[in-house]
């Protein structure tokens, strides 16, 4: 029986070799198209995992910049935020983000297989590849939300995370993403689209503006400003953890920018990834140089901020600029972050520098597309950057028009995100309260909000040793007088 089956398989294999015409040209093309799409989605899947890895980057970066009494809360925050934003995105956010009118998406709520999304010629039924893209979008939304909390470390009430995460995942981020990427207002401004390849404004500026709204209502940490009003350093407890966080974010960014190609055609993601690397490197150099010139020391945290600023800066231009422009964009972002951190610190207590690294570098990145956008790479309808007017034959009206459109994206993002975020945080402040009590802040959020320390041995003596004495001494029994034999034994040991 087995032998006959084997023979049949061999015959079939032979037949398929001698009769290639069985598969028609049309089906070959169809199969190729299907396989191409599957390979594209495989790349998006890899990128999605890298972008989710960035959550670990934010976790360690923020924990490293916190004091030892506020480290466990950083873990809880990232986990709970990621969980809530996932459900909010699946139920509502994805729908608001996708196909619809100029202002918000109208289909795709409670995302499910076979659901019809969109109308007319652009309508489609949800299949596995759409699901992959939906998950990729969620990873972006989660990154944007994680940025918000950088300014709020060591003093915010945990409940604020929960409420704001719902609003952010369901409304705030989806509105901005819809405007730029979902066919909304900013996808066609007088014929020119906003070019934000992976989200310098959509993801990073959005997160930073949310962070600003939270910070304005929250205020500084106790002791951040001295009696003279001058800012004081509150050093984070672990620069090694900050470094680990920065490198995880850096690696995750290859998925963030590279994955935003959504396809493997021509291996274009390679160009995007090289741009990403060049800008991150230049960001480190720019920030290190700036802080060294300013204080004659190479501040470890600032070098990390420089890497993040370079990466944020290149996020929008990564798919639109030539390799030579990427280090310039990253270097400028690195300079911006240092001077901005020092300037902002005089008024606002931003422990990790999120306003500078994600906000100002995000604005710079969005505008940089209007300066360096290359004719070879920009999207249809858009104009190349000002550089190509100065040193090429692109008209200044066209390139400045594109720069203005990029500026409009910044203004739109700021206004929409700030309005909704400020309202949400004000509501939280008026109801459950935004900030922990002075006593809780002094004790640390780990023990006051979570009932445990992130590093218990720093604060509590190890209770497990107190009952572990092997002798009767630990039981409280009367101490027996040493016998003469014991005394002799002790003496002889001493003499040995």
């Amino acid at each position: 029986m087995k032998k006959r089956l084997g023979l049949a398989v061999m015959l079939a294999a032979f037949a398929s070799l001698v009769l290639p015409g069985v598969a028609s040209a049309a089906t070959v093309a169809e199969t190729l198209a299907a396989k191409t799409s599957e390979i594209d989605m495989l790349w998006v899947a890899v990128a999605t995992v890298l972008v989710f890895l960035m959550q670990a980057g934010f976790m360690f970066l923020e924990i490293g910049f916190s004091r030892q009494k506020n480290v466990g809360t950083g873990v809880a925050k990232v986990l709970v935020n990621l969980a809530i934003v996932t459900i909010a995105w699946w139920a509502i956010g994805y729908g608001v983000n996708g196909a619809g009118n100029d202002f918000f998406g109208t289909d795709g709520f409670f995302f499910h297989f076979g659901q019809t999304i969109g109308s007319g010629a652009e309508a489609f039924d949800v299949a596995a590849s759409d699901t992959m893209l939906m998950l990729f979008g969620l990873a972006f939304c989660a990154v944007s939300l994680a940025i918000v909390w950088g300014t709020t470390l060591e003093r915010i009430k945990f409940g604020a995370y929960v409420i704001y995460a719902i609003v952010f995942g369901a409304v705030i981020y989806p509105l901005v993403a819809h405007a730029v990427w979902g066919g909304g207002l900013l996808s066609d401004v007088g014929g020119k689209p906003v070019m934000d390849f992976a989200g310098s404004s959509v993801v990073h500026l959005t997160g930073a503006v949310g962070a600003l709204a939270a910070l304005l209502l929250l205020g500084a940490r106790k002791g951040k400003y001295g009696p003279d009003g001058k800012p004081r350093a509150i050093p984070g407890h672990s620069m090694p953890l900050v470094g680990l966080g920065v490198i995880i974010l850096w690696i995750g960014w290859f998925g963030f920018n590279g994955g935003s190609t959504y396809e493997t055609a021509g291996a274009f993601f390679g160009e995007v990834m090289l741009n990403t690397q060049l800008a991150a490197a230049a960001g480190v150099i720019g920030a290190s140089l700036a802080v060294w010139l300013k204080s004659r020391t190479l501040d470890v945290g600032m070098a990390g901020n420089g890497a993040i600023a370079g990466l944020v800066g290149i996020t929008a231009p990564s798919g639109f600029v030539e390799y030579w422009a990427a280090p310039i964009i990253g270097f400028v972002a690195g300079l911006i972050v240092v001077y901005a951190v020092l300037a902002i610190e005089r008024f606002l207590d931003d422990p990790v520098g999120a306003l500078s690294a994600h906000g100002l570098a995000g604005i710079w990145g969005t505008l940089a597309v209007g300066i360096f956008g290359s004719e070879r790479l920009i999207v249809e309808g858009a104009a190349p950057g000002i550089w190509y007017s100065l040193f090429g034959d692109v008209s200044f009206s066209a390139s400045f028009g594109q720069l203005a459109v990029q500026g409009l994206a910044v203004a739109f993002t700021f206004v929409v995100v700030f309005a909704i975020s400020f309202a949400t945080f004000a509501l939280i402040k008026a109801t459950i309260g935004l900030r922990v009590s002075d006593e809780e802040e002094e004790a640390g959020l780990d023990i006051s909000s979570h009932g445990m320390y992130g590093y218990p041995e720093q604060f509590i003596p190890q209770p497990e040793y107190s009952t572990g004495l092997p002798s009767t001494l630990g039981t409280g029994a009367a101490m027996p007088a040493p016998s003469p034999a014991q005394m002799t034994a002790t003496e002889s040991r001493l003499e040995a």
Partner: protein, 122 residues
């Protein structure tokens, strides 16, 4: 009995410990201490702000010895902990009333150190 408390630089401890053991004084303890004195604090720079830590880390070495051994131990500590720079530390000698070995309950000077010779050559 005398208790010798010495605030010393971290790097001075190991040679002191080695020589004291060699001379028959194995029993000592150290505590990580932070303190201020004539030596200035440490100025840290963090994200553009400066931060002065006014206390510096030192080691506190504690040895309890019989009265006759005091000078020997003090000299050993001085020998290894003096660099001549500000910040070498200080030595204090205090009287001790009683000494009890917990394991056996023995009392008196014989519980202090382990040395077989009755007289330690200086």
């Amino acid at each position: 009995m005398k208790k010798i408390e010495a605030f010393i630089r971290h790097e001075a401890f190991e040679p002191i410990r080695a020589e004291l053991l060699d001379k028959g004084f194995p029993s000592l303890s150290i505590v990580e201490a932070k303190g201020s004195g004539r030596q200035k604090g440490i100025v840290e720079r963090y994200r553009g702000s400066t931060l002065t830590v006014n206390v510096r880390p030192k080691l506190k070495l504690e040895v309890v010895v019989e009265d006759k051994d005091k000078s020997l131990v003090v000299e050993t500590i001085l020998k290894h902990s003096r660099t001549g720079e500000v910040g070498d530390g200080k030595i204090f000698v205090l009287p001790v009333e009683e000494a009890i070995r917990i394991r056996t309950g023995e009392e008196g000077e014989e519980v202090l150190q382990v040395h077989s010779e009755p007289e330690i050559p200086a």
